[in-house]
Amino acid sequence: MAKNSLPARNRQIEQLTNLFGEKHHHTVESLYIYGHTGSGKSCVLNHVLVGNDLFHVVVNCIECYTTNLLFSTILEALSFEEGRIRCDNMNDFVRCLRKIVEEKEVEETLYIVFENCERLRDKDPILLPALLNLKELTGLNLCAILVSELPWEKFYNGTAVRDPFVMFFPDYSKDELVEVLCHLRPQATDLEFYKQYVGLVLSMFFFAFRDLRELRHLVEINFSFYEQPIVDGKLTKDDKLKLWKNIEPHLTSSLQKLLMREACDGRQSNEPELTESVKAYDLSKGSNAKSQNLVELPFYSKFLLISSYIASYNPSSTDRRFFLKHAGRMRKTARSMKKDDHKNCHLRGPHSFPLDRMMAIFYSIVDEVVPPSAGLFSQISSLVSLHLLAQLGQDQLDMPKYKCTVSLDFITAISKTVNFDVIRYLYDFV
């Protein structure tokens, strides 16, 4: 088994191999492996189990969301017979497991790997302790390996369990990340060149996130842009400064957009036309511009939405001031001065408002006279089904209550399209 195949994980591979020992050796009853996502847990386990040709089964607890599925998957993977095996409860599972392993007459340790095992906490509270004790229950040479992101202390739930042997997979340091990414480079690229490139990318992105999968995606996508001047012949490998200047705008745009995995299909196919259109994207608007383009609302719906936003984020005592024609100026009392310091309605989130209030605000902001009709009120329901408004409470016939769920950017963009200055009517910005 080549240790070079998994860079920066030699220590963990060694630990695991020592723990497992020879094929017929008994090992710990249960093993708990935890570490950040992308730190190589499944990869290393797979490498050790397959590389040493050990008798094992791997189950993902997100896929097997019922205990039935969980047991069936394990038994089907182990048995010789084709076809589904039904298994409802732990007792049948233990008996079938014992039968299958005895039929196979195997002396080796059986390893059952449960990935994403934090999902097992939500199911039957007896399931997890039973799985940890599986070796004793079946009487076989078995080891249950649980893999998760969370520390073991999150699994305590009041009943005493036999604690598994806990193993931590540390995250990769910056150098180790460079090593791993270089290891995963496409064929026929120079190691030093790629290492330089990876170093540049990491210097920009290491601050924001350290997930190996995200970094790998970014590195792969931007590599063609990095290589382009060299392929075209304009620059050589030594012009590091010019290469950096070339790649920097791409990396900055990646930081803003590609983190959200938008427009990644266009980038991967790497056509020049598509990259032009992506560059022409107005970055200042951010991702909201795109989502806004998807929603085209009728005229009255826009005003309904604006009035619902105002109703959500303004305290009801200020309505009088904003919407009555001759409200006059508010007197500056000591109490109002104190209140001004805590203008954080936008931080607290939207509050709920009754329908009446929203309609009152609506009638006052729309210039023309709008007769109340079923068409108008049905627009409110369609706003709710678009999830721009949320309906609360049980009382839906008499006085339904709503909350507005859109953000400030969205509502300012919408109000611009109807020439309405919503900021002027918001309490927080006065």
Binding site: N89, I126, A130, P151, F168, F207, Q256, H346, G349, A390
Partner: protein, 426 residues
Amino acid sequence: MNQVLLDAQSVLRNRLFGKETKCRQDIEKFQQDLKDLITRSVEYGESNSLLVIGSKGSGKTTLLKTTVDLLQKKLSKTLIIVRLNGYMQTDDRIALAEITRQLHLENTLGDKVFGSFSETLQFLLEALRGGSSHSSQPILFILEEFDLFTQHKNQTLLYNLFDLAMAGLTPLVVVGLTCRLDVIELMEKRVKSRFSHRQLYICNQWTAENYLQAFSNMLLLDAGFCKTAKHKSFLERWNANVVELSNNASVQDILKRQFSISKEMPSLQCLLVQPICKLNVNHQFITAADIADSARNVFSDPKANILHGVSVLELCLIIAMNHLTNIYAGESFNFHMVYNEFLKFTQKKLHILQKHNKPVVLKAFEHLMELELIKPKESTLSLASKLLKEYQPTILLLEEQQLKEAVYRYPGCPTELQQWLESSTV
């Protein structure tokens, strides 16, 4: 040489992980009680019930197993044993099917058990009541995880078993093993009255010296290991090494620390797993460094480990949340408030931190939620709160002390972050 080492490893591994566990010496005195109980049932046809109570890993199962094995050889009549486990038989119906199966009664065909729950129960009761105390074979019921059987509906199984034990027909011994000290309270009134209230408490009265002694007993190889001359010489060197290790001050400190956390055997075994598995031709004897390494693994703080791997942006967010928790005295915060704090910080120190827009920060926030370093205050979410995930009230699950240590140990942490954490005002 390799063969000797492999043999030594096999022996030690069997001691740690395998089935060859002997009963601990200080609980051997309970063996006598158990032996008496079962013998009386077999010889004189008495029926009894007993509960063995002790914490996890204190040796209850081993005690019972060794006693039963000893007795099987000596008894005049064969003892039928039915083993039930609370983890496996989660329901009375399953338990009943299992009993019928283990007793090989005619209701079974091969492996399957027929009939509904009430039919099987009736069948079983008739079969068991049909006997008399002299002619029928004694049955030993072993119920592991006894407290889980009390969670079944109406406690039917327990009621019937204890009832049969009191009825005095077929000789029956019901032994329950559990780790809960209040198991008597869990039983219903009618079940409790039929129980004989015989309890055996397995408590560990070790002192630190006993613990250290157990450590060396675990590692010493005995004379049965000497098969060849090479084995013998290795044995002498090995045992000398173990004695030296036991007298080493740092090893004793580690053992005392582990003893103060838990007295039972599993805690000791946990420390020894790594050193024993590490033995190979290049590394033939366990050293104090091995034990220290293993101890570091066992005593490490898992949250600190996780915090070591979060990105700088996420660390900023955690520090912002810590400040919010301090300012608002434990009340919950939401994402917008955290983002606000973060912006206030970056505006002051723009030159070292890059500008990040909201979606990126929201993604970092959600990653922290996935890692369960923060969690939403209400566990059930209505549709409205799912739509407004940025305004969901959340709380931070880290103590300030843990956070300070983690920031201190964070590789390449910008000093501004540390200063921000130390400052009491933002």
